[in-house]
Amino acid sequence: MSRGDLFARGYMESAIVLKGVRKAFGTTQAVQDLHLTVPRGSLCGVIGPNGAGKTTTLRMIMSILFPDAGELSVLGCASALEAKERIGYLPEERGVYRKMRVGRFLAYMGQLKGLSEQAATVRAREFLARLGLEKNERSRCEELSKGMLQKVQFAAAILHRPDLLILDEPFSGLDPVSSKVLRELLLEEHRRGATILLSTHVMAQAEELCQRVVMFNRGHKVLDEAIATIKRQYVARTVVLEPLESNAAHLDAIRASPGVESVEPVEDGYQIVLGEGVDPRQAIPRLAAAVPPARIELSRLTLEDVFLQRVSQEHEPTPVRQESAA
């Protein structure tokens, strides 16, 4: 696709555009007919279980893998190869030159991303100071702990102040303190104006950080919505009821209550699923009347719930076996 075509199609307004992209490894379809648009300046999460096709998609966006079919545009270019200096990437399989000194590694990555040697060195020092690793500038990478190394790799991805930041499972294996530091850095990059696309299989993280999520399952995109829209569309239907006193008759009373689809005893009470179309505002008072509650609340909707709902609605595709490169 020529640059003129990209302009004509309005791709310049989006950071990433994928149209009908497919990727197979042998007989395994890793990504199937993927259409995706990531607006500039957005913070978008790619979620899904392991082997869903998230990493393969990110690698295709980065032009590390090449699609078998479909069109792709990154920052207005027909390929990420043309815009690598404007992209920051933290791969899932993170690696460093083990014998290289930390400061030198960061500066080297900065230079590869187009910074001058001097600018790369200065920025490397700045980031190491911000991450509390200034004393490790002269340490060899192999001397750092896993958490420290992950911070260094994150710094390597954002050192050159990219327009687009692609992060594959950025928080995996991090302790809560390190995770918080990286989260703050990530949000700071977003405030600066960078478009961020991050993948995670921990859906709560995406829900907390992202404005928008794209959900994958077995190589298919099953959802692509803003978080706010998802919360509006997917009304929670689970009520948790903790009775004031224990009574064997409560189970039957709840089942008999109008609008209840199923009920399951849980620790300290019952988990009640309402039928589709039932308004929780009417069902909850009826349940409270049937069984006097110590506590009754509408269970908070999670992306995981949405995922499970969507997957159950989707036509089950042919089982896929992901190859290692996926």
Binding site: R59, M62, I64, K84, Y89, E93, V96, Y97, S324, A325
Partner: protein, 459 residues
């Protein structure tokens, strides 16, 4: 281009800065120093002085006195000196002078050990063979060591009338006799028997020696410019082999290192980080150029060392400057072919163990220059030599051997060989770039040759 340069310079500094490289690069000079100093001391002929008795059963009655003289220490020393002198005379001028100096004084004894002290015990002319063999049994440890029994045939000095041919002798020895002492005894017997024959024929030993002796000629080479120069047959055989060693060493240093650093980067999972900044092609070219610089450094060091040694012996004129240019050309092309293939293997496998199967054909091909070196350098115009000059990646080795030989190939063959090398290097780089593009992130069952070809076609 800047990224390629960055990759190449990191590759270079990361390789030459390692302890292994520094040790490796010093290894050859250290080995030369070892062979020049320590090895001669370890491998010298010195040992405890050999002394003992040799028994002679001389049915001719003409050999005894001559043998007694031939095994006298001064005769043994003179003979040994003459042998070493002959070998030194074959060496080039500067080496010859050095050798002649070291032959003077006690140096020869230091090198070869002390002259054996052998005593002759003459037995009865009619002694029984069984009795003579019995003599070899050592009576006790204090008695002189018994080194052998010589039983002269009756016709050893005077030929029989029927056949007109000279007879010989039998030699019986204990199982513990070393080859060197045995050789000394036999050489002495030979001298004694020949001396006895000459005396019988009333011929003068010195006259005969003078007649049969012919000093090696002072061979001179007439150059195309009409000048004549001293010929150095030994060096003329050595220089092509040295060029071959430089080429193999240069090619393998960089190509081997390229393989190991690629595998290491893949194993450390740093590849994907790099690929976020550079394209697979930039990465491959950068790595190949970086290791080319490493190989170039190694070659430059060793070639400089060789030039230094030759110039110190005033033998620099033996090496045509054009040979160094050809060495450079064939080094570049051969390195690019082998390096690209090794890099491709490194990109495709998960660890060095997996690489062994894929490397087998490359290693087998790279062993051929060693096997072909002698037939090509000794017969540079043979069909084998000409054919190998056009078969990549061996053509660089074969052509270099021929160019350094006494019969260089015609210019058209040299040009064609260079063009074949260049074309092969381009094909190898194209193939490697395909493999780099598709295989860098592959982690799984190690690929075989068929998978390699499939990847190259698919990429």
């Amino acid at each position: 281009m800047k990224k390629i340069w960055l990759i190449a310079s990191r590759e270079f500094t990361a390789t030459v800065g390692t302890r292994g490289f520094i040790i490796g690069i010093l290894m050859v000079p250290l080995m030369l120093a070892f062979f020049g100093t320590v090895a001669p001391r370890l491998m010298n002929q010195r040992g405890p002085r050999v002394s003992g008795e040799v028994a002679l059963v001389d049915s001719t009655g003409l050999v005894g006195a001559k043998l007694r003289k031939a095994i006298a220490p001064e005769s043994l020393a003179a003979r040994r000196l003459a042998t070493v002198q002959g070998a030194v005379n074959q060496a080039p001028g500067a080496v010859r002078q050095l050798g002649q100096k070291s032959l003077q004084g006690p140096a020869l004894s230091k090198l070869l050990g002390e002259v054996p002290a052998i005593t002759l015990v003459e037995m009865e002319r009619t002694a029984d063979l069984q009795q003579a063999k019995e003599w070899l049994r050592q009576p006790d440890a204090r008695a002189p060591r018994r080194l052998g029994v010589i039983v002269m045939h009756a016709d050893a000095v005077i030929p029989t009338r029927e056949h007109g041919a000279y007879g010989t002798y039998d030699f019986f020895k204990p199982s513990t006799l070393d080859e060197r002492t045995e050789g000394t005894i036999k050489e002495s017997v030979r001298e004694a028997v020949v001396g006895a024959r000459l005396s019988y024929e009333k011929l003068d030993q010195h006259d005969i020696d003078a007649i049969v002796r012919l000093e090696p000629p002072d061979t001179r080479v007439v150059t195309p410019q009409g000048k004549d120069e001293v010929a150095h047959p030994v060096l003329n055989r050595t220089i092509p082999l040295l060029l071959l060693v430089f080429l193999i060493m240069g090619t393998y240093t960089g190509a081997g290192s390229l393989l190991s650093t690629t595998v290491e980067e893949k194993f450390n999972r740093v590849m994907e980080v790099l690929l976020s900044a550079v394209s697979p092609f930039e990465l491959m070219v950068g790595k190949i150029l970086g290791q080319l610089a490493v190989s170039g450094l190694v070659m430059a060091l060793y070639v400089s060392l060789g030039v230094l040694v030759l110039s110190s012996f005033a033998l620099l004129g033996l090496v045509e400057p054009s040979l160094l240019l050809y060495l450079l050309i064939f080094f570049l092309t051969t390195y690019l072919i082998v390096g690209a293939l090794m890099g491709a293997v490194g990109a495709a496998v998960n660890d060095l163990r997996d690489a062994q199967n894929l490397l087998l054909p490359i290693n087998l091909v790279m062993m051929l220059p060693w096997l072909l070196a002698f037939p090509i350098s000794s017969n540079p115009d043979s069909t084998l030599s000409v054919v190998m000059s056009f078969v990549p990646p061996l053509n660089g080795f074969a052509m270099l051997l021929r160019l350094a030989s006494s019969s260089p190939p015609p210019a058209w063959q040299v040009i064609l060989s260079i063009l074949i090398s260049l074309a092969s290097a381009l094909v190898a780089l194209w193939f490697a770039s395909k493999i780099f593009r598709i295989a860098l992130l592959f982690h799984g069952k190690p690929p075989n040759l068929a998978t390699f070809i499939r990847w190259a076609r698919a990429a």
